[in-house]
């Protein structure tokens, strides 16, 4: 059973700024005529925000340099599936001999 007595409070460091009606927000569009219950506080645009990650798009069709071994394969996987099995990091249990991480 969880303590929900302070349900709306949030003690985390990431606690949001006060959000009154005066703060700008946007809402998703209605669904079947029902107003959305979500308010998104955009805030000031972060100039350092990384909207897109780096890619390995090639101009000449060449393959990127590729590491080999289990740890290199792990890096190619969706990180969602690899939580806890990244060798040699605080996420993983051990560093195998052939690790290149």
């Amino acid at each position: 059973m969880r303590d929900e007595s302070d349900h709306l409070a949030n003690p985390g460091l990431g606690a949001p700024k006060p959000q009154g009606d005066e703060q700008a927000f946007r809402k998703p569009p209605p669904l079947h005529g029902r107003e959305s219950h979500i308010r998104i506080f955009e805030g000031e645009p972060d100039p350092n925000a990384k909207l897109y990650g780096k890619t390995q798009i090639s101009a000449d069709g060449a393959l990127p340099r590729e590491e080999h071994g289990p740890s290199a394969v792990l890096k190619a996987l969706d990180p969602f599936w690899t939580r806890g099995i990244i060798p040699g990091t605080s996420n993983g249990p051990e560093k195998p001999a052939d690790s290149q991480v």
Partner: protein, 449 residues
């Protein structure tokens, strides 16, 4: 998933949870609570549709939030900029959000993974689906597997239809079908089925035996799982090497040969393995759980069975209703808030992890009237959240739907009746965030003519 693993999970497996009667007793992740999720969802919908889990966000100083209402989940999955996947570079405000190390420093490894994955941003996520997976397991590519799936369905039925009048449906049908289908699509040897099943179970182990909404396993469990997955990755590497050398008509060969237009190049071995890893994990247990749950519904409802026998065109609506009522993946913590947001008046700070409870959304009475009832005439039958929605909708939805439809087309054709075997079923489900029957004992009579 079988119950045999090196780790001792007997306590989790045998736990009996108390059915909650009020919000104070609701704990979706408590031992044995999987048997009471529908009751818990009803309470959460009415009293706490956005439930905070203190300290379980992307870092120890942030929180997790369980989201259960259909409309809220709908809005979240359709706004990947505001609610990205933790750890993806697309999560703005810091490309490594959700993947920080314990001391709070962003993980260079997370950047490396985002760099190496073929889907580091939304644009490439879409291209990945259209170019790489849709032609094999998506809505456009899956239908060409109809003859192959039908063949395996009939083979499995042949194995038991003349040997008696009772089967354990999970082991005799629901589990082997998706394994046979996915192994064939991937182009891997069918004689490897047994070991592939073991590795498939390792892939989903954290979602069954992991603790809490983040599916956390102990160091010992992680080590055991990493060993199994390491073996699996070596196996997949062997298959990739073999297919590069001698390509055939299968998905592994395709991935080794294709020029990925979005990147204007072919895929590296590791990238191919990454895609195959996802296909294997997604294509097995979820479809197994769906087919088993649908069998339970039909065995408990003879009128529904007769309705399908009388009109095969209703099977596809039945499969959708089965998936809606018993979603195989009940919830996932695969979204985070990249901005400060508020949902139903609950402030959710940037960095929080959102646990989207798809199974609860499917039972939201505000979206689906009488949600616990199978209704083949629902106007919104296919709008359930079982495959999620939006840009990250399940890439294998097409093949899963195909398998379920063909399974019931052939079972309805070849069996006259199915019913529960008296005294043999306890209807228990495995722990975790998946809804999977351990076993289902059915009696059947063979169709004549």
């Amino acid at each position: 998933m079988t119950q045999s693993t090196a780790s001792d999970y007997s306590e989790m497996i045998n736990a009996v949870g108390k059915c909650p009667i009020d919000l104070g007793e609701v704990d979706l992740f408590g031992a044995g609570q999987q048997e009471h999720w529908p009751e818990s969802y009803k309470i959460l919908h009415e009293e706490s549709p956005v439930q905070r889990i203190p300290g379980e966000g992307s870092t120890p100083d942030t929180d997790g939030f369980v989201i259960t209402k259909y409309q809220d989940i709908y809005d979240i999955v359709r706004d990947p900029q505001t609610f990205p996947q933790p750890g993806f570079a697309g999560a703005d405000g810091g490309g490594t959000a959700g993947m920080s190390t314990e001391d709070g420093e962003p993980s260079a490894l997370a950047d490396a993974m985002a760099l190496n994955t073929l889907r580091p941003n939304l644009e490439l996520h879409k291209a990945h689906r259209i170019e790489l997976t849709d032609p094999w397991v998506g809505a456009t590519g899956a239908p060409r597997h109809r003859p192959m799936v039908t063949k395996f369905v009939d083979q499995l039925i042949d194995n038991w239809i003349d040997k008696g009048e009772e089967i354990e449906f999970v082991e005799d049908f629901a589990a082997p079908l998706p394994q046979l289908v996915m192994t064939t699509i991937l182009g891997w040897p069918l004689e490897d089925i047994d070991i592939l099943r073991k590795w498939g179970q390792a892939q989903v182990r954290r979602f069954v035996y992991g603790k809490g909404h983040r599916n956390i396993m102990s160091d010992e469990e992680e080590l055991e799982n990493a060993r199994d997955l390491g073996e699996f990755m070596e196996y997949v590497q062997e298959q990739v090497t073999r297919k590069r050398r001698d390509p055939q008509e299968d998905m592994t060969s395709f991935l080794t040969q294709v020029t990925y237009k979005a990147m204007n190049r072919k895929l590296t071995d590791n990238e191919v393995i990454g895609v195959l890893f996802g296909m294997h994990i997604g294509g097995l247990e979820t479809t197994q759980y769906a087919i088993a749950a649908e069998a339970e519904l039909l065995a408990q409802n003879p009128e529904l069975w007769r309705e399908l026998k009388a009109d095969r065109s209703k099977i596809r609506f039945f499969a959708e209703e089965g998936m809606r009522i018993h979603a195989p993946t009940q919830g996932l913590s695969t979204r985070m808030a990249a901005k400060d947001v508020e949902i139903r008046g609950v402030p959710i700070p940037k960095g929080s992890i959102l646990h989207l409870r798809y199974g609860a959304a499917n039972l939201d009475a505000e979206e689906f009237n009488c949600p616990a009832e199978v209704d083949l005439t629902r106007p919104n039958t296919g709008r359930h959240m079982t495959f999620s929605q939006g840009i990250r909708v399940c890439p294998g939805a097409g093949i899963s739907r195909l398998e379920q439809n063909i399974a019931w087309e052939r079972l309805v054709d070849r069996l006259e009746t199915i019913e529960l075997a008296p005294g043999k079923n306890d209807f228990r489900h495995q722990p975790g965030i998946m809804l999977g029957l351990w076993e289902l004992h059915l009696q059947f009579t063979k169709a004549t003519g």
